[in-house]
Amino acid sequence: MIASVPGRELNPRLALQDHWRAMRRETPFHSRLAALDFRNDWYSWAGCKAPLSLWDEELEYFAIRSQAALIDISPMVKYRIEGPDAETYCERVFVRNVAKLRPGRVHYTAWCDDEGHVLDDGTLFRLAETRFRLCCQERHLPWLLDSAIGFDVTVADETEAVAGLALQGPTSCALLKDAGFAGIERLKPFDLAFFPHEGGTVTISRTGFTGDLGYELFVEAADALSLWDRLWEAGQLRGIRAIGYTALNRARIEAGFIVANADFVTAEHAIRADRVRMPDEIGLGWLVDPGKPHFNGRRAILEARRRRSLGHVLVGLEIEGNVPAEHALVYHAKKKEVGLVSAAIWSPMAKRNIAIASLQRPYGDTRKDDLWVEIYALREGQYMKLMKRATVVPRPFVKLDRRTATPPADA
């Protein structure tokens, strides 16, 4: 903890968001993670100590695809949005139509500044008619509070107060049934429901970041460990494994999901003026609903569409060979530099060499031919310089029927 300076009052708005006081905060699940950890491979996720890997990256990945992987998602930034104007407030902030989001549903969305540049993407949970939870990558309280001017709504950071777990993989539904969450099999993708736990409530949604069958569970931080134990016990015969970010990252690339400040730079983090992106430039144009009530950035986005001034496009690439093209430059006709790969793996599920890349229009947009990536593969003290053909392909790279089947098959 950083103590406040005596005699100097903290700006009250800063005090509403004081995560910065603790460095590498441990999440409510830390003791369980630490007990399972063989690698001591921690990184900082939104200021929290989080594992890149706990025991074996490869096997952790396959836990997602063939068992049930348990991921501590408590570091994810969470805001509670509540009040009579919660819906109209959300309409103004987010680019996607909130009126269409019924209570008990979740949707993926994004929000922009006045210039139409994306501030972040995230999931919006409609917990009740007038209560929402926003989950995202970056902190936004000052922006969200300023957006609340003129609305009867309260916005509060509940990142530390609420602990989160993702349970992902083909056995996840069966596991939750075994753990006593009766009726969980009735949840369709993006549904959420409340279940009793230890005298409190756990909110379970059929959501995730893997493109697989999976769920996300949220509880008060005080109930975190008992929830973990409840899942862990029920999961012994369902192959439950705790995993870290490296494995999750592979799964999300296969699912074609993007990560803020990895695949695009958020508007408040961009230092260089040309690094900001509009939704249409990072593959999120489909979220934008010009017909809904006014939202931040609407004018700018529609103007950019009208003037065709959108400079970039985010695409999925399939690359020949099997060497991951992470951070490789993308060329047209092997000569003209037209973009950069932001994420790439050899996909174990698709058995393809896949990548997510940002290209300068018209490349990747109307000109998709003759694209190449230049991969520098470091091999025992020497770079193997590879120029490989890249083809624009649709995302997701991997589409699993079990992600959407309801009820899920008992695995």
Partner: protein, 526 residues
């Protein structure tokens, strides 16, 4: 409830102050059907005349004309519609409690009457012509629409070009001098040229009038440039009193608007600006009446316009943030005295009483008057500009009696002790200063009306009691007035325009924001 007036109007102007009326009249002359909605029971806003004691009438807020937009005066035939000014320019008088007053005759001190040493006489003459030349450079910017930084039109580029050209024409020395001085404080500039305390006090007062600045605050010279960029009857730097008080200006504008076919509706309080799909499409009155029009022009406060009438949900968060940052807390109070007889200011010739009398004995005095305002207290020895309008216009007071109208500084809007408690004490402080310069004046007061910024806020619907609808400082001028995104009379909403003093070029009885806004509406075919 939909009014029978539905569909009858091309444009609705919210606010029947002088800028709203100027805008309406200009739009009316293009053949548009225009409706002006004024919340108060009469038109004019802060450009009004009211009776504050039986038989005593006074300009409600602004009381001197020094920048009425000449293009508008001609374009609307205001003289034909009854605008009449005091004969000739009135002088400014620097009162002194210690010695003789100094009279600045002609257009802003063309001649100095009174005892003053020869060096100061020539120093002033040089400084005055320097200031006039420099204000002349800024004048085109202060009369037309500010340039768009994003997409500049040919006309705007040529305006910038002509300003650059006039800088070139000044010659290298003068250009360097202008660029050196433009953001200086007025006190340092005065020190470079003159020594006379009365003269420096008066100029320092004028530079900071209506601003939250002391003469030693950086950029305080800009206020003086703004003042000297104005003109009356073709004479730059001149000043005049309108016959019948400031309400006569509003009345002439109202007649011009009516002659142009505008419908003027007082006692019509707008509750909402209706917005459909990002476009303003009309207004809803407080009583529920809906009036639709293709164009809505708001000539009221910009913050009120967006936060109260449009509502934050129709504009972006960053824009709301910027609106919240507009510095808009008034520092000026208005005093009206009903006097038994004309007062006599010490050492002042009778004729000079018809001028603008300034009590600001020195730069230090103005600076010291400002100091407490920074910390939420009023000036214990306030500075002020006084007019006795009934001397030249007997219709304003009963026979033999006299009206005193004064703008008094500094009276911070957010007074720590609150204006309810502070107002009688501030009035006493003002009267003590007046008594010192015009002995016996206190005894002849029949009635005193003091409008603090809190009163001005309530009476004229001016948030913060700021009669320019936003500080006239460098960060709130040109394309930053009122804020980026609502500059140049455009707004984030299609079909909605701004036309009040909150927009460029700003406050004062000029009509320029309203006149320019009308031109903008026509330009973009609103």
């Amino acid at each position: 409830m939909t009014s029978s007036e539905a569909g009858r109007f091309d444009a609705i102007v919210i606010g029947g102050g002088h800028n709203g009326l100027a805008c309406a009249a200009a739009l009316g002359r293009t053949g548009r059907k225009v409706l002006v909605l004024e919340a108060a029971d009469r038109l004019g806003g802060a450009a009004g005349t009211h009776e504050f004691a039986p038989g005593f009438r006074v300009s409600s807020l602004a009381h001197i004309l020094n920048r009425l937009h000449p293009e508008m005066v001609a374009g609307l035939d205001l003289r034909k519609h009854g605008l009449a000014l005091s004969a000739g320019a009135i002088p400014s008088v620097a009162l002194s409690s210690a010695g003789d007053p100094l009279v600045l005759d002609g257009a802003y001190g063309e001649r100095l009457d009174g005892t003053i040493d020869a060096a100061d006489r020539s120093g002033w003459s040089e400084l005055r012509s320097l200031l006039f030349r420099q204000a002349g450079i800024l004048k085109p910017f202060l009369s037309r629409r500010p340039p768009d930084l994003g997409a500049m039109s040919l006309g705007q580029a040529s305006l910038l070009g002509s300003a650059a050209l006039s800088l070139r024409r000044l010659g290298k020395e003068e250009m360097r001098e202008f660029l050196r001085m433009v953001l200086m404080n007025v006190a340092d500039v005065l020190d470079e040229h003159v020594g006379d305390d009365r003269l420096k006090g008066l100029v320092a007062f004028d530079a900071t009038l209506g601003a939250h600045l002391g003469p030693r605050s950086p950029t305080s010279l800009l206020g003086l440039y703004y003042r000297l960029a104005g003109e009356v009857a073709g004479v730059t730097g001149a000043q005049a009193l309108p016959k019948g008080g400031m309400g006569a200006v509003a009345a002439a504008l109202a007649r011009a608007a009516e002659a142009a076919g505008c419908k003027l509706r007082p006692s019509a309080v707008v509750g909402r600006i209706m917005v459909e799909k990002g476009r303003a499409c009309g207004v809803t009155l407080d009583d529920g009446e809906e009036i639709r029009a293709r164009t809505v022009v708001s000539a009221i406060n910009p913050v009120t316009t967006f936060l109260d009438l449009v509502g934050p949900r129709h504009v972006d968060t960053g824009f709301v943030r910027r609106l919240g940052h507009i510095r808009m807390k008034g520092d000026a109070a208005k005093l009206h005295l009903a006097l038994d007889a004309p007062p006599r200011f010490a050492g002042l010739a009778e004729e000079a009483h018809r001028g603008r009398l300034v009590i600001a004995p020195s730069v230090d005095h103005v600076e010291k008057a400002f100091n407490p305002a920074k910390y939420g207290a009023y000036s214990p020895e306030p500075v002020m500009e006084i007019t006795l309008p009934s001397l030249g216009d007997p219709s304003l007071a009963p026979a033999g009696a006299c009206v005193l109208s004064a703008v008094v500084q500094f009276a911070p809007y957010a007074l720590k002790q609150g204006w309810e408690a502070g107002k009688p004490k501030f009035l006493a402080a003002i009267m003590a200063v007046l008594e010192c310069h015009a002995p016996g004046i206190g005894r002849s007061v029949q009635h005193a009306e003091l409008l603090t910024p809190a009163d001005i806020e309530a009476r004229f619907r001016m948030p913060g009691g700021h009669w320019h609808h936003g500080e006239m400082q460098v960060d709130q001028m040109l394309m930053n007035r009122p804020v980026h995104g609502a500059d140049g009379y455009d707004t984030p909403l299609d079909g909605l325009f701004l036309a009040g003093a909150g927009s460029h070029p700003g406050g004062g009885i000029s009509g320029a924001p309203g006149w320019n806004a009308a031109k903008r509406v026509v330009e973009v075919r609103g």
